[in-house]
Amino acid sequence: MKTKVNILKYILVLPFLFAVSGCEDVLEEQIYSQLAPGNYLTTEAGIESAVGAVYNAFFNRTREGYRWLMDVFEAGYAYNEGGSFEARYAQIHEDFLLSSLSYQPYDSWSDFYTTIRNANIVLDNLDAGEFEQDFYNLKKAEALALRGYTYWRLYNYYGPTPIFTSSQPEEDKVARATEQEMMQRIESDLTEAIADLPVEQDDWGRITRGGAMGILCKYYLNTKQWDNAASTAQDIMDLNQYELQLNYQDIFDYGNKQNTELMVVIPSDAVNAGDWVIQGLTIPNDYVLPPGIATYAARLYGYDSFVDSFDDNDTRDDGFVLEYVNTTGATVPGYGVDKTLITFKYPLDPNGNGVARGFDFHILRYADILMSRAEALNEINGPNQESIDLINDIRERAGVDPFNLTDFASKEELRDAIFQERLWEFFIECKSREDMRRYGNFISSAQDRGKSAQDYMELYPIPQVEVEANPNCEQNPGY
């Protein structure tokens, strides 16, 4: 009995003790399930984790998968049916109905700026702490490469946008950069990164010197800096780090995932970091799938005209499913009714887990660099033997007849052939939008398909929430 009373006394006295001692610590917030930045980001392990967060934002597989499909819809060689993203994403992009309230402009803007924020956290903490020079250089280069790439993607989608180079900016309502500032930022981030990045990284998926050079090369190409594009492509070839796979299918083979054609990838793993978009939202759910593999309601169908465009000998359309016997034993027609299944360019993942596949997003592969040099040289000199040879490397692998220099009377003719070749080579690889904009038919071809596309739609709208929270950020004209 006595003890009980005593305990009660202490409990009653407790608050008075706080009162008397003025004990401020009582109200100090205790962190249990998270970390405090101060003592963690001063260590190498902390910086590694912060760099990991840059990759993680860059590796947003769901949103990236959406972007890849939007790229298909906007190019118009295939279309979507069904699924919850039919009206919210697919039809909006197929029919050029984007507004500042649509999903995709917001999703991309938010992903890209999260990547940039995380990169800036790495850069700020590297500078604030004390690290060994090699470690400092490498981590800085990784952060800069991903930041430069992300600014390039922003520029590609929206035109110049606000630039942040610090994680604690004095002002967070930043106006859009000028064209020149934006281009300088992209070039200097990538150039600085290239100087310190190693040619090979231990971890598959980390950015390498060749990867950053490839991104810079594509940036030069898309901004029509032909000389720079041609020379950067040559520098990449001189690295002797990359080669074309022997067969087109080898590039995408799950048994050959980390092959020498790949330069920048978003690595995936069906169980731990799967993608569910590229095949989960494209294959009809009455398609007979191996056990353990599933698919959602959305389907991606290729137009007959796209299927017809391939040469009979071309192996790049070998994955096309022109008709199939479905789960009930019925034959479902595809080709002939504009419903060819074109995603089987990417084989089914033998380790697929439900709707998730270990599908590595090939952000950049070596074939693109060869095609880029071929294109840049044609833009500089017109038809030339080197361009033809480079294109033929791609064509011959695909099993189609090589070109001869004499086939092309003008720069324009070779240009037409290059862009056609790029579509055959890179379909469903998120290249069409930028290719068509560079070629100049992004809007006009949509208009030819009967879409209400207008010139201002070359750029995406700035998301409405950005414009509302940041009055300094002007909307793109037309939206």
Partner: protein
Amino acid sequence: MTINGGAQNGIAQVNEVERTHLLTEATLSYVKDINTFNRINAVAGVTYENVLDRNFRSETSGFPDDAFMTNNLGAGDPTLANVNSYKGENTLLSYLGRVIYSLYDKYMITASYRIDGSSRFGEENKYGYFPSVALGWRLSDELFIPDLFSQLKLRASWGITGNQDIGNYNSIMTLTPGTVWLGDQAQPIVSPARKPNPDLKWEETTQWNVGIDYGFLNNRIQGSIDYYIKDTKDLLLDLPLPVSSGYASILTNLGGMKNSGFEFSVNARIVSRTDLSWRATFNISTQKNEVTDIGGLPSISMGWAKLTGNTTITRVGDPLNSYYGFNVIGFFESQEQINESAQPDADLGFPIIEDVNQDEAITPEDRVILGSQFADFGYGFGSILTYKNFTLDLFIQGENGADLLNVNTVQGMYPANFRRNRFAPLILDQWKPDNTDAAWPTAVNPYRYESYKVNNLVIEDASYLRLKTVTLSYLFSNIKLNMLESIRIYAKGQNVFTITDYSGYNPETNMFGSGATSRLDWNAYPVARVWMIGLDVTF
């Protein structure tokens, strides 16, 4: 069975949530009758309150059989297991003092002062200081008041209260751990949990109140009348940030708002005889909400919902978080009408959006305030009628003037694809060439007008009157049977009927809870109408 669950041979998840709430109060009170006319009652104290949240979640898949349900996670594939736990804590430390002084039991003054400390605020702003003063005058004890009043008391008060109803850790930077798939393995990552606000402090509301407690005819009729004004400053708002800054929002003290209104209640014993009695209560309260300051910003758009985007706006002079969107003024009936409109790409039956700024294009600039989330007034009526051993007891409740955004309607108007299930009226009464006075636009290709999702068609008047409960009972009293004293049998109905124009299941609903910036009806569970019969036995 879901697509994922089916393909993965079952997914089982166990979630455990634990909350420990510790409250310690130590108070000293002092009561002193100085003489027969003067009395003092004083209290001083310290209170300490601590809330500790812990949860544990584990999930795995790849089961040999469904029979295990969630009862044997170990039977699943161990390589697919997923385990999380969390712990968070917040603390309140308060010092308080109160003095009540009464003179002749007629004049009363109460003064109090609290210092509240909350762990949730910034280093320098943990404590809030909250004084209050209340005056009371029992008029019914004065000789000049007629005897008709059995009770009459005049009250006036002024006081400041604080609000700390926010999440933990908003004032400090913390890092959320996670993993990234790199080099064929999951590597650790950290990213900031939020944009911290080290200056975060108490939201303060200064309230003025005057009121009368009254009673007539030996308190057969009694009740109260009040008028209040609440001035809130340093509102705790999740202020949207430019997404380009890398953060979507920051919790901030910003601006102020004013609430004011009347409250009236009456409670009457209308009939009280041996065999028949009837008591009734009625209360009504009005509310006016107005934002007085938003820190110099022109407006704040908030209330983001996945399917709709931002749904609300906060502007000085308007109610907090007013619904904000496009105004549909009709449906297109002819191609000429379309050609002359600001929506040249529209089709017949598409909604005509009011071109508010008359720039011949429909852009987000054309949005207007479409409604308020605040009711103009709310009321309740209760009645107990007893005749001999029968009793009829009912309670009615209602609200008038609040609007509600029905996301189910948004989904019906703008289905994710045209095969989606949706509410029939949107299809049955859609615009067609032979149904031009339709209530809803054409359901053909709605994605082509889907930029205008938040519009006046999806925001509805959520006024309602509801019979909350009604009970009829019979009491067997005078039972002379051993220990049995009485038996009461009853039939009771809950939510018996609701009179409302609102099209959803429940005009009272608010899916994100009362503190949410946008009141939304989104797959909310309908309220159940319950009928019960029961038996109460008293020994």
